[in-house]
């Protein structure tokens, strides 16, 4: 087992818990429970202080505190559509374990994919409990041990989880201060908390662990200070705290899902055949396999289990399969297919990403306008290519299933597994491992289901690490998009009506940062020939590309500067400031002196952050070099500047791939992109010089930042290419579109200003 200690956190539901606070109350099989299990059956002690509730338990060698908040006050945006069904946790809770050693463990449903959530959440706990970050540990994404605070997606850790953890830890601090004050018969205000030790004016001292013991035995119910540390007084948050697992990473000691090992574990491999979608007609060659190999064939599921990875892979290739393949809708027909199969946008109240946003009358406004512009934009299917392929280890004990999985959404995977195998959710435990990146590609649970199916047959734990080919063949892609935009302006070029339709790729990024008086922004779901799902910023990439290119075409048509044209449509002061700061620092309008060199920019408000992005390119023939770039980023409060810079730079570099060359190619029944050699991703030489300017506003809650930089990269590059070459590109990726345009004939702005 990767984890030698298993805390059992919950036993009987307490009568005071009217709502289900935790999703999980798992009984572990005998032998896996700690010796102190009997301690855990004692009654929960709890206290109510206004709308916060604290539950105390003894857990192992420590005292466990769970803080619960009624949902409505904390979180109105938890609904997330891209992760599957809409879900709204009934109540938000945070858990902390206080140990005699002075260590504090936080429990969170978030996972670490490289975005820095482990460090950020450690900072939040350290900030509020006045301890060094090094004394904080985190248990992440283990469905048996952590509260369900949603999957790791949509950049929600900073705006959603950090505030909850801060509030809970601040409340815990208040309880400790009150407990110490009561013990020493002083006022809570006369107790100080320094470096994890409570101190009284007369030299009294008490550790947090001792205070937790006292608070558990006799929970304070009054005099509890609840306010988190004011942002302008932050000592740990707002600082560039280095990644907490950095040392493990540079020494190779960091354990990812594919590195884990269970006693008696076997290795799995899947047989998928050459086709993208196919049914199995016949399987041959099982008799030629070594005796140590087991074949698992169940309908269209075909895999093997072997004592080691090489044997499993070889066996999977030995099997001969007759497939009945489905013919896929071809790329040339994709736009038509999306429109034929599309459904009208539907407004759903409370949706995080409404599929229909409307103001005034965009339809008639367009026809009435003296100046008009209509254009169509597309984006290709692209793959996440997480460097660590999807990996899981599944083991069964009777009808209880445990899966270690490098995933983004452990609770969704738990539900999926329960449903797939027809067992209660209580019987499934998903333990999220740190994983070698995800970018949205590890929200599904296909590899976990496959590992579990193999393990059930093998009767032993089975580890399944997808090959790179599996990752292309069996994972989902970022959806391809067709975006139709038409807009009308008055004679001065002030846009009056904006009619915007996304087919197939999604509703995120639909809202506009511009003050158009009439608009219709709609997402039309459609049928897709390829599997599609979440991706970093998802549809916001296509929607921002279409909208910003459209603005660019207007500006060009009006013979106006890109920034000047945008500014006269922007009211948001923060966005204006970001653009103007960026223009100044980048030297907007001063580049492009050499032939083929040009600048481009794009801006947006994404997930509450303000972004202005500038890029300088050199275009020559069918090739484009990115020379330098600047991102001005205003997320409100900056929680960890260095981590944020790292995220932004990395996201910009990653985004250049789908902007310029990444795309999935397929033919009648096959995916043609099945190996890394067939799918170019950005490498060292592709990265431009990137500057990042952060605008830190402590008074404004931190917006998520892990994915919004993705949205503005492609339109800025396309705008720069247009200035360098005179060619308008409306399809991502841009390089194939540029080659096609050069092979055809040069074109100007389409139907602009008729």
């Amino acid at each position: 087992m990767a984890e030698s200690r298993i805390f059992r956190l919950e036993s009987e539901p307490h009568p005071g818990e009217a709502k289900r606070v935790y999703r999980r109350r798992t009984e572990f099989a005998p032998g896996t429970i700690e010796p102190e299990r009997f301690e855990l059956f004692e009654t929960t002690r709890y206290s109510f202080v206004l709308n916060r509730r604290a539950f105390w338990r003894v857990a192992g060698a420590g005292i466990l505190l769970t803080v619960c908040f009624p949902l409505h006050a904390q979180n109105q945006n938890a609904q997330e559509q891209t992760g599957g069904e809409a879900r709204l946790p009934e109540e938000i809770s945070s858990r902390f374990l206080f140990e005699e050693s002075g260590e504090i463990t936080g429990f969170t449903g978030k996972v670490e994919l490289g975005q820095g959530s482990r460090t950020l959440l450690s900072q939040a706990i350290a900030e509020e409990l006045f301890v060094p970050v090094a004394r904080v540990k985190l248990v992440m994404g283990d469905t048996a041990r952590v509260p369900d605070d949603g999957g790791t997606w949509a950049s929600l850790t900073s705006p959603q989880t950090v505030p909850v953890v801060r509030a809970a830890a601040a409340f815990a601090r208040g309880l400790f201060l009150a407990a110490a004050a009561r013990t020493w018969s002083v006022k809570p205000a006369d107790v100080r908390l320094l470096d994890g030790v409570l101190q009284g004016g007369a030299g009294q001292r008490m550790t947090l662990f001792d205070a937790a013991k006292i608070a558990r035995e006799n929970p304070p119910t009054s005099g509890v200070e609840r306010a988190p540390v004011r942002p302008d007084e932050w000592k740990v948050l707002g600082q560039s705290v280095p990644p907490v697992r950095g040392r493990e990473i540079v020494t190779g000691a960091a354990m990812y899902a594919s590195d884990l090992r269970l006693p008696g574990m076997l290795f799995g491999a899947m047989v998928r055949g050459p086709h993208y979608k196919a049914k199995i007609e016949r399987v041959r060659g099982a008799d030629r396999l070594p005796a140590s190999v087991q074949v698992v064939h169940d309908g269209d599921f075909l895999g093997v289990v072997a004592p080691d990875a090489s044997t499993a892979r070889a066996a999977a290739q030995t099997l001969g399969v007759v497939w009945d393949a489905s013919v896929l809708v071809q790329e040339e027909r994709l736009a038509e297919h999306f429109k034929e199969t599309s459904r009208a946008p539907v407004f759903v109240k409370g949706a995080r990403y409404p599929a229909l946003i409307e103001k005034g009358d965009a339809y008639n406004g367009y026809f009435a306008a003296p100046r008009k512009l209509a254009a169509t934009y597309t984006t290709a299917y692209v793959a996440h290519v997480p460097l660590e392929t999807s990996s899981a280890i599944a083991s069964w004990e009777g009808d209880r299933l445990t899966v270690h999985y490098g995933c983004q959404a452990p609770f969704l995977t738990m539900e999926l597994l329960a449903k797939t195998f027809g067992i209660p959710e209580e019987n499934v435990r998903v333990i999220a491992s740190d994983t070698g990146s995800g970018f949205g590609g590890k929200q599904g649970g296909a590899v976990a289901v496959e590992a579990a199916r193999l393990a059930r047959e093998a009767g032993k734990p089975v580890k399944l690490c997808w090959t790179r080919e599996d990752e292309f063949q069996a994972n989902y892609f970022r959806p391809a998009a067709l975006v139709e935009v038409r807009s009308g302006a008055d004679v001065k070029g002030q846009i009056q009506a904006f009619d915007f339709h996304n087919y197939n790729s999604g509703a995120s990024g639909l809202p506009i940062p511009y003050n158009f008086p009439n608009y219709y922004l709609g997402y039309h779901p459609a049928n897709t020939p390829l599997r599609q799902g979440s991706y970093r910023a998802l549809a916001a990439v296509a929607n921002t590309f279409a909208r910003e290119m459209h603005m660019e075409e207007w500006a060009a048509g009006m013979k106006e500067d890109s920034i000047a044209f945008r500014l006269r449509h922007i009211e948001d002061a923060r966005l204006k400031e970001a653009i103007l700061k960026g223009a100044e620092r980048f030297g907007w309008g001063k580049g492009g002196s050499k032939p083929g060199m040009a600048q481009g920019m794009a801006c947006t408000i994404e997930k509450d952050a303000r972004l202005a992005f500038f890029v300088e390119v050199k275009a020559g023939g069918k090739d484009v070099n990115l020379l330098r770039a600047l991102m001005v980023f205003d997320p409100g409060a900056v929680l960890n500047p260095d981590n944020l810079r790292n995220q932004i730079t990395g996201n910009v570099i990653q985004a250049t791939g789908p902007a310029l060359y990444e795309r999935i190619v397929w033919d009648d029944t096959h995916l043609r992109t099945r190996h890394l050699g067939q799918y170019r991703v950005p490498r060292f030489s592709d990265a431009p010089e990137i500057e990042v300017e952060l605008i830190d506003r402590r008074g404004i809650p931190a917006a998520g930042a892990g994915e919004s930089p993705n949205t503005v990269v492609a339109p800025a590059i396309a705008a720069a290419i247009r200035r360098a070459t005179g060619i308008w590109l409306r399809d991502l990726p841009l390089l194939p579109a540029l080659a096609k345009a050069i092979e055809a004939k040069p074109q100007g702005p389409a139907r602009a200003n008729q």
């Binding site: 994919l113 490289g114 975005q115 820095g116 280095p242 990644p243 697992r245 950095g246 040392r247 493990e248 990473i249 540079v250 020494t251 190779g252 000691a253 960091a254 354990m255 990812y256 594919s258 590195d259 090992r261 080691d308 990875a309 090489s310 290519v385 997480p386 460097l387 660590e388 392929t389 740190d434 994983t435 070698g436 990146s437 970018f439 690490c465 090959t467 790179r468 260095d642 981590n643 790292n646 995220q647 730079t649 990395g650 996201n651 910009v652 570099i653 990653q654 190996h675 890394l676 050699g677 991703v681 950005p682 490498r683 060292f684 030489s685 990265a687 010089e689 990137i690």
Partner: protein, 166 residues
């Protein structure tokens, strides 16, 4: 089946194998040195890079029968009792990673690079590491980290009058 003797990080391993198994599988599954990672299985991502006789090798493409007596060095063998290797220190101080999955391969390739070119330019680093993918996009930090490590190594060399061990 034949018995192969491998010298990994100064320790000798004997294992029974057809010889066809890639070095990567042996490192990860038999020797349980999981710092070396699988990324693509076709030598295009660099995650599985180790040093064989001091040269960077894509261990997913090298069968153990090809290794012979040559010493194999993995990320786990880099730190000494004296502490982290200058490359490890530099990757740490620059936070030249996000998920960290590519880091062991990047560090091993950089070690071979610095042995050849003690004072590399940014362009030389990019050229030598072009076969390594960081999907999180930390390339600029990796270049800086390698240059920092190069400076530290040179300082150390001039300080004690000889090249660093290993």
């Amino acid at each position: 089946m034949p018995i192969f003797t491998l010298n990994i990080n100064g320790r000798v391993w004997e294992l029974e194998s057809s010889g066809q198994a890639p070095l990567l599988d042996v490192l990860r599954d038999a020797a349980q040195l999981t710092g070396t990672k699988y990324g693509c299985g076709e030598g295009l991502c660099g995650a599985c890079t180790v040093l064989v006789a001091g040269k960077p090798v894509k261990s997913c493409l090298m069968a153990i029968s090809e290794v012979g007596e040559q010493p194999v060095e993995t990320i786990e063998g880099l730190a000494t009792a004296r502490g982290l290797h200058p490359l490890q220190e530099a990757f740490l101080s620059h936070a030249a990673f996000q998920c960290g999955y590519c880091t062991p391969g990047m560090i091993m390739a950089s070690k071979a690079l610095l042995a050849d070119i003690p004072n590399p330019t940014a362009q030389q680093i990019e050229e030598r590491l072009e076969g390594h993918i960081c999907r999180c996009g930390t390339y600029p930090r990796i270049v800086e980290a390698v240059q920092t490590a190069a400076r530290a190594t040179r300082a150390e060399s001039s300080g004690n009058g000889g090249p660093r061990r290993g």
